[in-house]
């Protein structure tokens, strides 16, 4: 069992080797995060004893979608198949995991979507209640929470726990089909990277002047479109690529955008290679791009908006 410090050093030494391959990089992140979770578990076990019930530690956000870059923040939760009074144990575990991840270079989540937060660390029963409540309330915030939850996969522990929750939520959505409209509205505000004349729309002011936020403006239209389809079509896989692979026949016209998304996954790793921290990792300075890179990025961005619009149109048509 490696200590957090050893894992941190391991990351520093190894990550460069996999930093240009989307697949290898994300496999590396998984391996590292598994190590961190096991170390954290050992630490908690030494003080609190073995886990009192089956549990699943699951990832959300970019890690949940298997779409991390070199630098990434934390988004994770815990489901345990036990009693209410066990929450302290798992919160302790969540806190240790959060500490370990932070030490190893994974920035704390600004929105506190972490298993150290009781909102994201619950018993199966409480999770079920929370999901039903989120979907019944259908407020902007609860829909957003559900969307975050939905891009999830189990990294360590019992996979069936997360699956049960997703299936429960599907049956809830079946009962209230209007929820799809709410999911659509929730992602309705897209920040654009490309203007009316096909020009980039970089930030105008501050230290980030001349850059575009790659994730918000170019990446999200792809992610959001495919998530919307996945929710409607009750797909449990969490990555955007696997959602592309599983696209049902009625969405087959959207299949052409898959290669753009793959290009984006690979291109951004090269474009962001020099980033020194999480703060920098989303911003691309337009003046640093070659003409070819600019052209390609614009094409990908435009196709992202097309995919997003076509997805909404298909869903509106009731396919």
């Amino acid at each position: 069992m490696k200590s957090f410090e050893q894992l941190r050093q391991y990351r520093q030494q190894q990550i460069v080797k996999v930093s240009t391959s989307h697949q290898l990089l994300n496999e590396f992140h998984d391996e590292l995060m598994k190590g961190i979770v096991h170390t954290a578990l050992k630490k908690v076990e030494s003080e609190w004893g073995p886990p009192p019930a089956h549990f699943a530690f699951f990832l959300m956000g970019s890690a949940g979608r298997f779409e991390q870059t070199i630098w990434s923040d934390q988004d994770h939760g815990i489901i345990y198949d036990g009693l209410e009074e066990h929450q302290d144990y798992y919160l302790q575990l969540g806190t240790k995991i959060t500490e370990g991840l932070s030490l190893c270079g994974y920035e704390l989540c600004e929105g506190n979507v972490m298993s150290s937060n009781p909102l994201w660390c619950k018993s199966l029963k409480k999770w079920e209640e929370q999901l039903i409540q989120w979907l019944e309330k259908a407020t902007w915030n609860s829909i957003r929470n559900y969307s975050i939850f939905f891009d999830s996969r189990v990294l360590v522990g019992d996979k069936s726990l997360l699956l049960k929750l997703k299936e429960l939520s599907f049956s809830q959505i079946d009962k209230s089909p209007h929820l799809i409209t709410r999911f659509k509205q929730n992602i309705g505000n897209v920040k654009k990277a490309i203007g009316l004349f096909g020009q980039f729309l970089p930030k105008q002011y501050g230290e980030k002047a001349g850059t575009i936020h790659l994730k918000e403006t170019i990446f999200f239209p792809y992610v959001n479109a495919l998530r919307l389809i996945a929710i409607q079509e009750q797909m449990t896989k969490s990555s955007t690529l696997s959602r592309f692979h599983q696209l049902p026949e009625k969405f087959s016209t959207l299949k052409i955008y898959e290669k753009d998304f793959i290009n984006l996954l690979n291109n951004r790793l090269c474009l962001l290679l020099d980033c020194k921290n999480y703060d920098e990792v989303h911003f691309i300075k337009i003046s640093n791009l070659t003409t070819k890179e600019k052209h390609e990025l614009k094409r990908i961005a435009k196709n992202g908006y097309r995919l997003y619009e076509e997805t909404k149109a298909l869903i509106d048509k009731g396919v």
């Binding site: 654009k192 203007g195 009316l196 004349f197 020009q199 729309l201 105008q204 002011y205 501050g206 230290e207 002047a209 001349g210």
Partner: protein, 422 residues
């Protein structure tokens, strides 16, 4: 007494109050476009500068413009106060007070270049110098018996006389004062020092827009044939077109329908039509407004890139749009309106390049004169007064406190060290 004479005088005194009320528009516009810590100062300085310009204009300004003299300057009618004279079909006092309000507008525009960093004493001294010399000379050239008026320069209500002159002085001030702390990063990139209240700014623009009917329609100096209605129509069309054009261009280019830019578009339309409102057809007013709305945005971007910090966009709104408005009659002046109001028809009406040439000469000479003279005055002030910019500490704490001793928004400002140690 001739009822037309009476109505002329009533009309112009109403227009005087409208133009004076434009200062209220500037108070809201400038305060809204700057930060909270300077709001009381920005608002207050507008009032005392109206005080200074009133006294100086009475003492010498009016005489330098309209007194008998030479092609360069007038030299009589100082300390104006004749209740028997008649000027341009108006009681002399009515004409005087209407002209005074214009001088006050020019000064307020010039002070746009001082915003958020000039010492209070700099305002005091420059207010005297500007309203005694800079403004009157340009006004004499075009509206008095000056050489540009003799050439047939068309500037109905003052795109050049008022707006460009004010903006040229503002440019000199921004260059000498240098950018505000925090406006630019070491790599030259700009930061956004957003104004604290867009609602004030929008209200300020609306108040200016309303006042502009006194400014432009009042510049008919009378009610004969109710020509003021036509002037008002052109004014309204250009302002409307400017607002829309600026909104659309910033939306298309920057991806954001930026409110301050749209507001500047409305003002740019107003500034541009100020020279041409009595010379052009309504369709041309729309076009003049559209172009003003487009160039004001380009100009804002240009000055920002050149690291000329212009917090309330005086250079773009009054300078760039003022130049465009003045030159626009060289293209669009119709033969009938030129015959009625002076000068010749524009290029698009078979007037050739003559009027365009006159307008260009007017813009270049007036702009350079106002800029160079203001620059010299300010440089002398820097020397004599030991600088015209507040200290770094004063700028950071805000001019409300450093120059006046109390905040415009006391409840919203952080406690000072003094009160903490008490």
């Amino acid at each position: 007494m001739d009822p037309i004479y009476l109505m002329n005088n009533v009309w112009i005194i109403i227009c005087f109050t409208l133009v004076l009320l434009m200062q209220g528009g500037f108070i809201l516009l400038e305060a809204g476009s700057t930060r909270m810590k300077n709001a009381g100062h920005i608002a207050g300085k507008t009032i005392f500068s109206v005080g200074i310009v009133s006294l100086v204009f009475w003492a010498v300004g009016y005489g330098f413009i309209y007194g008998e003299g030479n092609a360069f300057i007038g030299l009589s009618d100082f300390f104006y106060g004749d209740f028997t004279s008649v000027v341009d079909g108006l009681a002399g006092s009515v004409d005087f007070i209407f002209q005074l309000a214009f001088a006050a507008i020019a000064l307020t525009i010039a002070f746009g270049g001082f915003a958020e960093r000039a010492k209070l004493t700099a305002y005091l001294v420059f207010a005297v110098a500007f309203s005694a010399i800079v403004y009157p000379v340009v006004a004499h050239w075009i509206w008095g018996d000056g050489w540009l008026g003799a050439l047939g320069k068309q500037d109905f209500a003052g795109s050049t006389v008022v707006h460009l002159t004010g903006a040229a002085a503002a440019l000199a001030a921004t260059i000498i004062l240098k950018p505000r702390i925090g406006k630019y990063n070491k790599d030259g990139s700009a930061n956004e020092l957003a104004g604290h209240n867009q609602v004030y700014t929008a209200l300020g623009v609306l108040l200016l827009w309303v006042g502009w009917f006194g400014f432009n329609a009042g510049s008919t100096l009378g009610v004969d044939d109710a020509f003021f209605g036509y002037v008002a129509l052109n004014t309204q069309l250009a302002a409307a077109a400017g607002a829309i054009a600026a909104m659309l261009i910033v939306w298309a280019v920057a991806g954001k329908a930026d409110v301050p830019t749209m507001l500047n578009g409305a003002l740019a339309g107003l500034v541009a039509i100020t020279a041409s409102c009595a010379f052009v057809a309504p369709w041309a007013s729309v076009l003049i407004g559209i172009i003003a709305g487009l160039i004001v945005y380009g100009s804002m971007r240009f000055f920002e890139k050149k690291q000329i910090d212009d917090p309330i966009f005086a250079l773009s709104v009054h300078g760039t749009a003022g130049i465009w408005g003045t030159i626009s009659t060289g293209f669009f002046a119709t033969p009938e309106l030129a015959a009625m109001n002076g000068g010749q028809a524009g290029l698009f009406y078979g007037g050739g390049l003559t009027q365009l040439g006159v307008q260009t000469i007017g813009v270049v000479s007036s702009g350079i004169f106002a800029f160079v003279l203001s620059f010299i005055i300010l440089k002398v002030m820097v020397k004599v007064m030991g600088g015209i910019r507040v200290s770094e500490e004063e700028e950071l704490v805000g001019l409300d406190l450093s120059e006046h001793g109390s905040y415009g928004y006391p409840e919203n400002m952080p406690k000072t060290n003094g009160s903490q140690s008490a």
